[in-house]
Amino acid sequence: MSASVTPPTSPRATSAPEPPDGRSVLDPADVGRALTRIAHEILERTKGGDDLVLLGIPTRGVTIANRLAARIRAVEGLEVPVGSLDITMYRDDLRLRLPRALETTDVPGGVDHKLVVLVDDVLFTGRTVRAALDALSDLGRPRAVQLAVLVDRGHRELPIRADYVGKNLPTSRTQLVSVRLAEIDGSDAVVVGEAS
């Protein structure tokens, strides 16, 4: 753990605010290609996707999980259950900020004996994923848990790594990384900006 208790920007906050003068590092075609590759990798690594469940971390993780499921369906004709896992109540910085509204937790078919792939937009400190692992263990006992992210921007504060990465993006800690998705933001992009 780093010396500072609160990271300059929390991993979840990175995808919400708009960087003031951002530089686009992935365009819509790049995002599409990255997700297609991840979908293929998941199928490859899970040997056809038996017992697979994609669990997105709201908000954009769920959107990405849905897109991965659509690609897996297109490639393999396989219907993969997609769920949503809210980690708010498991965050380690709950007491440092105002209580926030909760997102949906909905796991169709449960996680017992399943191969769960957690899906998020940006991997940063790893604290979100730690919270997600705690949340997951309260839902049941998966056979295995893997992690897929669209962007890995480094600066881990916990021993966590992703199994599937769309793009490794070297950043400084103070930069803001924003993932935009058509379903939520109108168009796809990954934008890096300086904190104002």
């Binding site: 109540m89 498991y90 709950l94 900020r97 105002l98 209580p99 509204a101 909760l102 909905d106």
Partner: protein, 320 residues
């Protein structure tokens, strides 16, 4: 800033909706095999109950425990209160034990308000005399929203002992905040002075109001608070104001029947009505846990409360 939930009016439309939305997610937890969240680990919630209550106390206790808070139940019977300790001294004792929240039920209207000026933690009013019971109003609103899909515009009829009912007052206030249209129905003797200042319609005739009701909420006749005769006898009350199958038939098709409990079957509500598919009485109990989890989370879960109001007449940080 320290904040409390003492009255339904401590909430505005936005924060009340936040409570209901949060409760919706809390309700999903009840469907899981592990019904526990780590959110309030290390926080202490004191249930300070000066009046008998099974439903509300166990509901708050379960809500706090599901959020991993430590819960201390403190009832007037068998405590120093029966030895004559004052509310203030009890409050200071609890304070010294490090209570982060005090859930208070008291027969004296306004007792939780006084308490809020004495303790450092958040105070949740779990019913004070004939005054208010805000979490009951929240769970009723939550039940309506789950059953009927909305609250705004609903015509809600509250029938019975409005005079002694903290449930009625909190419901009328919260329903008004949420954009519903409450109507209270009671014999004139069971309406409080000043009812015309409440944001509600008033009627003496249940049969005229029922056909125009989306929700009918029956209240218990509170014999323990009655110091005079408010109606000739129970049979007459039941005939004039009780909800039986004939009256239910006058309701619109999708209208629901609510009761905060405990109910007197055969007095304000017929057994067949209480057990019918329109009745939400059992759901209300389950919803109570979800709503109280939401309230405790929003008051205690973060660095500062997200809902509620500061205590009137106390300045921040002031010591008793």
């Amino acid at each position: 800033m320290k904040r409390h939930l003492l009255s339904a009016t401590d909430l505005d439309r936005e924060s009340a909706t936040l409570v209901l939305d949060t409760a919706e997610e809390m309700a999903r937890l009840g469907e899981r095999s592990i019904k526990k969240l780590p959110t309030l680990r290390g926080r202490t919630v004191v249930n300070l109950f000066y009046e008998d209550s099974t439903r509300t106390r166990t509901s708050f206790e379960l809500a706090a425990k599901r959020l991993s808070a430590d819960v201390i139940n403190f009832s007037a019977k068998g405590s120093s209160v029966s030895k004559g300790e004052s509310l203030k001294d009890t409050a200071l004792t609890l304070e010294a034990m490090g209570a982060d929240a005090v859930v208070c039920r008291h027969s004296g209207s306004g007792a939780p308000h006084r308490l809020a000026q004495w303790v450092k933690g958040s105070v949740v009013n779990a019913g004070d005399g004939t005054h208010e019971h805000p979490t009951q109003a929240l769970l009723d609103a939550f039940t309506m929203r789950r059953r009927l899909g909305r609250i705004e515009g609903l015509r809600v009829t509250i029938v019975g002992d409005i005079l002694h009912s903290r449930v009625a007052r909190s419901n009328v206030l919260l329903l008004d905040i949420l954009g519903a249209h409450p109507t209270v129905v009671a014999p004139p003797t069971l309406l409080p002075v000043g009812i015309e200042a409440w944001p509600t319609e008033v009627s003496y005739d249940i049969d005229a109001v029922l056909p125009k009701s989306d929700v009918v909420m029956m209240l218990r006749v509170q014999n323990e608070r009655m110091t005079a005769s408010y109606f000739p006898n129970v049979r007459e009350y039941s005939r004039r104001y009780g909800l039986d199958a004939r009256r239910v038939a006058a309701l619109p098709d999708d209208a629901i029947v609510m009761h905060p409990g405990p109910m007197n079957r055969g007095v304000e509500i017929a057994a067949e009505v209480a057990d019918s598919a329109r009745s939400t009485i059992v759901e209300q109990v389950a919803n109570g846990v979800s709503v109280r989890m939401a309230v405790l989370y929003l008051l205690l879960g973060g660095s500062e409360p997200a809902i509620g109001s500061p205590a009137a007449g106390s300045t921040e940080g002031e010591r008793p």
